[in-house]
């Protein structure tokens, strides 16, 4: 039942937040959260990520999976779709770039509805594509912006990027466009799992958990920037101390920061074991990264056992005299 799954996921995220919040105020747990958790999360992330990628890399992919979304390369007078059904490596790179940067396959998303009759009707549904694109690009911007806590001196490109993100110069600290965009996009991505019966039926606890976790992350971040400010200089001190492997966090840093930090760590450690692993998986999906050249080049399954064949020529050799005696035609006299 979907509401139950959503509820459990929500409670899990609240539990993480509560543990972090009260842990930050407990002398015994605070160093655990600040000094050990980030490294543990990073190690789990890197190890889990490698494990997945290596397992995928070592899986044999003997055949091309064309998943035709366009005309295959055929006769010269038939126009082939080079990006949706590439026959060359360059084309496959192009398809991958379109997928990773523009979410091409989500752009094809359609909605099916049962109308009067009953009669099924399909329509375009671009909102999933739009929200996903808005979310992922905002996430990338926000991730890179956070580098200002980890790098000293802060590089110029980073300052330029933050300036671009804060283009409208609303208030102080300036409003970042991506903060608003990512929040709205996440709200839409969550809402569509609730209001569309078909999507609701398909939604799993893991889907809701990832969304609630990201929402919690975004909300605590927004709260720390625009209302309950934390002492950023000390946060940066902590972030820099993490980069030189001697973490220490000032007692002045508020528990809210710990909630944010714990959300990040949980997310990082959770990625390799969840759907969020599409971060690495998208590059290794055979339907996206292989050129459809099955008609040009022969792909032989590497683990095919040797097949014992008996050709016609051999058969004719074996029965030549009998065939001739019966007056039947021979290929080779």
């Amino acid at each position: 039942m979907s509401p139950l799954r959503a509820g459990i996921a929500f409670l899990l995220v609240v539990l993480v937040a509560a543990l972090a919040y009260f842990g930050a105020e407990t002398a015994a747990v605070r160093p655990l959260l600040a000094d050990i958790l980030p490294y543990a999360a990073l190690v789990i992330f890197l190890a889990g990520f490698s494990f997945k990628v290596i397992r995928w890399a070592w899986s044999p992919v003997p055949f091309r999976i064309p998943t035709t979304c366009g005309q295959q390369k055929s006769l010269p007078w038939i126009k082939a779709n080079r990006l949706d059904n590439p026959s060359t490596k360059t084309g496959a790179w192009g398809r991958m770039a379109l997928e990773v940067l523009c979410f091409r396959s989500l752009f094809r998303n359609t909605r099916a509805e049962l109308r009067e009759g009953p009669r099924i009707a399909y329509s375009e549904d671009k909102f999933l594509w739009l929200a996903a694109l808005a979310f992922h690009w905002s996430l990338l911007f926000i991730l890179l912006r956070h580098l200002r806590f980890f790098l000293l001196p802060v590089p110029h490109w980073l300052l330029g990027m933050s300036a671009l993100d804060g283009f409208f110069q609303v208030g102080a600290p300036g409003l970042y466009i991506t903060d608003g965009v990512i929040f709205l996009a996440l709200l839409y991505l969550l809402a569509r799992r609730f209001w569309d019966a078909q999507v609701r039926y398909l939604s799993l606890l893991a889907d809701y958990f990832a969304l609630f976790l990201l929402l919690g992350l975004v909300l605590t971040g927004i709260q720390m920037r625009y209302s309950d400010r934390v002492d950023l200089e000390r946060v940066k001190e902590f972030a820099l101390s993490l980069t030189v492997l001697s973490p220490h966090i000032s007692a002045a840093v508020a528990p809210l920061f710990f909630v944010h930090l714990t959300f990040v760590c949980v997310l990082l450690a959770y990625i390799p074991f969840s759907k969020l692993m599409h971060l690495g998986g998208v590059f290794l999906s055979p339907t996206r990264n292989l050129a459809n050249n099955s008609r040009i080049q022969r792909h032989i399954n590497p683990w095919n056992p040797p097949v014992k064949v008996h050709t016609y020529a051999e058969w004719e050799d074996e029965f030549r005299e009998k065939i001739r005696a019966a007056g039947l035609p021979l290929e080779k006299e």
């Binding site: 890399a57 110069q169 200089e233």
Partner: protein, 131 residues
């Protein structure tokens, strides 16, 4: 096999990218110490407690601007009961040195130079030195 090596190479590149802040800090020659902020010698307290000023001075400054420009209010009662004229140039920069206080921390944090100084002048820089 060539493909597998390629994938491993990209994976290694991803590792280096993810752990970039670590390499960056190791490679940095100069110290990662927090900035040395020069505090006014002749004052004990700011207009609000230090913890508030450290985290939220920008709210206070915007609030002051709002009160002065829109509501014609000029006097601020500080947390310790003193009265201050709400003025960035007169009050804040009367005590604090922009270069040795504001700018140092803003540079450290990578905060864009706020647009305060599009209009306001830095009185100490005008006088050419610290008071």
């Amino acid at each position: 096999m060539r493909k597998k090596i390629g994938i491993l190479a990209v994976l290694l590149g991803f590792f280096i990218l993810v752990t970039f802040p670590l390499w960056h800090s190791v490679g940095m020659r100069h110290s990662l110490e927090p900035p040395n902020l020069v505090l006014p010698a002749n004052q004990k307290n700011c207009v609000m407690p230090v913890a508030y000023m450290r985290s939220s001075h920008m709210f206070l400054l915007l609030n002051w601007r709002e009160l002065v420009v829109r509501h014609d209010q000029h006097t601020f009662r500080s947390f310790d009961g003193k009265s201050y004229n709400m003025s960035l140039t007169g009050t804040c920069l009367g005590c604090h040195n922009k270069q040795q206080f504001c700018d140092r921390c803003h540079t450290y944090m990578g905060v864009q130079t706020p647009n305060c100084f599009n209009c306001h002048v830095d009185p100490m820089a005008l006088r050419g030195g610290m008071r």
